[in-house]
């Protein structure tokens, strides 16, 4: 919580100011056939840290995000979450995934369940919470993301921005240790992006550990402790948002920023 009041100018960037390591990737490699999508990735995310992963499409940033809860397997290397190596399969993996919240680009709300059921399903079926307690907590979370009045609708009846906010509530209902966001605003109409980013900024301010794959520089500047720039499957540059956006060191980062900043 002690990061809450820090301003954009004095954001804690150095790891020693943050909590203990929560997500660690060591020597991670992955191939899709001939394509080397993750190259020797070493990355540590500390408790309470907000990490933004940025990079051109095809750079491996989504794969990196998905590998952290093993939606993608890796060929080599180790991924450790809160001191535990990521299990291969089965119950242990399911248990660990329950502790890692995930928000997808395409929302992926359960299409045959109401908004409320989407949020209570995990707590009731995975955490074995009592229905009434789970419902109460779900409604509080839906209220927090501003869609409580939609609780009894089906996902298809909501706008993209509302669906994504429900998806965030669904992930939060599991009380995760870390939240992964895989391009959460890329599928949204422009006028809906901010309502989702606002929820994410609030979450960051509360001290949630977050790994966010996004191109939203406003969000990175406002909420991130650190920006990781990926290109061709490798981490090219790590810096504070201010450093990265104003004075990128690598040519690939300069080239990428020049392309997204010209308009």
């Amino acid at each position: 919580m002690d990061h809450g009041e820090t301003t954009a100018a004095g954001k804690p960037g150095a790891p020693e100011e943050l909590g203990p390591p929560l997500v660690e990737l060591k020597g991670v490699n992955k191939h899709f056939g001939d394509l080397h999508v993750l190259r020797d990735i070493d990355l540590t995310v500390h408790r309470g840290e907000v990490l933004v992963v940025i990079g051109p499409s095809g750079s491996g940033k989504s794969t990196l995000c998905r590998a952290i809860n093993r939606l993608e397997t890796v060929d080599e290397g180790e991924i450790v979450i809160d001191g535990q190596p990521l299990p291969q399969e089965g119950r242990a993996l399911a248990k660990l995934r329950a502790d890692v919240g995930m928000v997808f680009q395409a929302f992926n709300l359960f299409a045959h369940k109401t908004i409320l059921e989407n949020v209570t399903l995990g707590p009731v079926k995975v955490r074995r919470e009592r229905g009434a307690a789970a419902k109460e907590r779900a409604l509080a979370l839906l209220d927090r993301v501003g869609v409580k009045n939609q609780a009894h609708k089906m996902p298809a009846q909501l706008s993209g921005g509302q669906q994504q906010r429900v998806a965030i509530a669904r992930a939060l209902a599991m009380q995760p240790k870390v939240m992964l966001f895989d391009e959460p605003t890329s599928a949204l109409d422009p006028e809906m992006i901010n309502e989702v980013l606002d929820v994410m900024v609030a979450l960051a301010k509360e001290g949630m550990t977050m790994i966010v794959v996004t191109h939203e520089m406003g969000f990175a500047r406002k909420a991130a402790n650190r920006v990781v720039f990926m290109s061709d499957g490798e981490i090219v540059e790590e810096a504070t948002p201010e450093e990265f956006f104003t004075a990128p060191r690598s040519d690939r980062a300069k080239d990428f920023l020049s392309k997204i900043l010209t308009h």
Binding site: K95, R97, L109, M154
Partner: protein, 229 residues
């Protein structure tokens, strides 16, 4: 003409035509329930992450789906009952009825499995990923997220399988279910050859009358239950 009709109508006093259709409906009812269960298990095997189960499910479907139903029925009658002397009931007629249900079930389960798998293909991959991401393992994810949507997307192909099952129930004749429609039709024609067309039309229309509502119902349900995305 009036003479023809009254004599033809008299056949219905001699032969129990509605009773024969009732036998086919009962065969269809039981085989539909059991093949839905077996077909669902097979579909789960085919979409499971375990390679040996996938293989076993695929092998079952490919063998049973490509074997003529008559061969399966004859196998049950000649190999299982006559040779191995395995009986499913002490009552003679009941034994053959049960064998017919078994034959219809194992055959149509292969088609039910494929219908459900086509339903699974209507469910976007993201649904399974979201289910896994909140910590559901394979079976709970299948039961709570994938199958409910898959069944709703598979209503039309499942309806087609049910229609095929109803018509195929006449193959029960191959395991000596002597009270069902095709057997009765043959008996009636053999003894009353001058009414062959009328008798034939009676049974053909009977099946059409049974099948059309199934088609209408599945079309209605398919639209009604479709998952909106």
């Amino acid at each position: 003409m009036g003479d023809f009709l009254s004599q033809f109508a008299a056949l219905f006093a001699e032969y129990d035509v509605p009773g024969a259709f009732w036998v086919n409906i009962q065969l269809t009812f039981w085989a539909a329930i059991f093949s839905l269960i077996l077909g669902t298990v097979l579909a789960l095997m085919r979409i499971s992450p375990i390679a040996s189960l996938q293989w076993a499910g695929a092998a079952y479907v490919n063998v049973l789906r490509n074997t003529p139903l008559t061969v399966i029925m004859t196998f049950l009658f000649l190999a299982v009952w006559t040779q191995l002397q395995i009986s499913l009931s002490d009552d003679f007629a009941q034994n053959f009825f049960r064998f017919a249900v078994v034959g219809l079930t194992v055959y149509h389960a292969a088609f039910v499995c494929e219908a459900i798998r086509s339903g699974v293909n209507t469910v976007p991959l993201g649904q399974a990923e979201a289910a896994r991401a909140i910590g559901l393992s394979f079976l709970p994810a299948a039961r709570l997220i994938i199958l409910p949507q898959a069944f709703r997307g598979a209503v039309a192909p499942l309806g087609n399988t049910l229609i095929a099952l109803l018509k195929n129930s006449t193959v029960a004749a191959a395991v000596s279910v002597s009270t069902e429609t095709s057997t009765l039709m043959r008996e009636m024609i053999e003894s009353n050859a001058n009414y062959i067309y009328a008798i034939f039309m009676t049974f053909a229309i009977g099946f059409v009358v049974l099948v059309i509502p199934i088609g209408l119902l599945t079309t209605y349900l398919s639209n009604r239950l479709a998952v909106r995305r």
